[in-house]
Symmetry: C2
Subunit: 197 residues, 2 copies
């Protein structure tokens, strides 16, 4: 087998969810792409790893010390949405409904995986709150055991600020979901927290 | 959104079967990889596109003008296995059962996609056969309409060499396949071409 082909298949199959067969299919696609496009792809990969940094304020991925959202004067600086990871920021931004700031924890508390509170950017969140500008913290965490544990831990730490409003995103049946297939806990919660029409 | 992140997600999602969500997940994995590994991956992608060539004898991907299989003195040069694409060579090589040479057509005849015989490396195959060393041609093509058309076309072209043995790989029920779920044509063929035990 060609060493160049062996190299690209070997490297691509190191990525999660990409086996050798998929890597080969991707390689064949890359072969048919314009040389300039492939060059740009390779460069985007290399530069992302070497040049990306974390916003020193919200821990989101950023090209600069302070990310564009934290720098944006148009955003509501009195409200912070706490999320697990970078992808969550993108999902919420895509809704175009939220105009406050974010705080990226970098994971959730998971004793099984050896991730404790000190592995997450919780102290940075409290430092930001201590500056007094923030009036509300929205906890937008997964409804997993780890997510709930993290939510509980953070809400306890935030209790030292009695004037701070702490909320969680609403839980319930998602749009397009059928009640028949929802789990008991979700249904129970959705009935308990029913909203007047 | 960070431009570096936007770039890598944009580039990766140009690959087939990779949407923006998967591209983001791959990017997050790349972020956690060692810088040296990412560098090697980016380089393997760029080098593959710029340096790979096609073997001038068998049309397989190669780092050199003549591929390692065609150069290998240990292989049986009297037998050629004709396949559609590079991946097929790898699949057959993985069985370690075949010791002859290959010929990569680069596709199949497909009027629907505007691929005619002249778009495939069929003339190169006939040139190689004309040199007189080859005694048998195995046609290892897909059992699709396009594959069968290509098989028919090539076998007709090969008829000009009456001494040449032309075979097709066996069709039948694959190992691990259940007869219940096999299509009629395959079952009919498998019964018609039954083998004595």
């Amino acid at each position: 087998m060609s060493k160049l082909l062996e190299d690209i298949v070997g490297e691509l199959s190191r990525l999660p969810g990409i086996g050798r067969r998929t890597a080969l299919r991707l390689s064949m696609h890359i072969l048919r792409m314009e040389a300039g496009s492939v060059e740009r792809m390779a460069e985007a990969i290399a530069r992302f790893r070497t040049e990306i940094r974390y916003c020193t304020r919200c821990n989101n991925l950023s090209d600069t010390d302070i990310c564009p959202i934290c720098r944006d004067g148009e955003r509501d600086r009195t409200i912070v949405c706490v999320v697990e990871q970078v992808g969550d920021v993108l999902s919420i931004e895509n809704t175009r409904q939220y105009k406050g700031l974010y705080h990226v924890l970098g994971g959730v508390i998971s004793p099984m995986q050896g991730i404790g509170p000190s592995d997450l950017k919780i102290d940075l969140l409290l430092d930001n709150i201590a500056r007094g500008e923030i009036k509300e913290v929205i906890l937008a965490l997964s409804t997993t055991v780890e997510g709930e544990t993290t939510l509980f831990y953070i809400s306890r730490r935030l209790a030292q600020h009695p004037d701070l409003k702490v909320t969680s995103i609403a839980r319930g049946i998602g749009f397009g979901d059928e009640i028949e297939y929802a789990d008991e806990l979700t249904i129970a919660h959705a009935i308990h927290n029913r909203i007047p029409l």
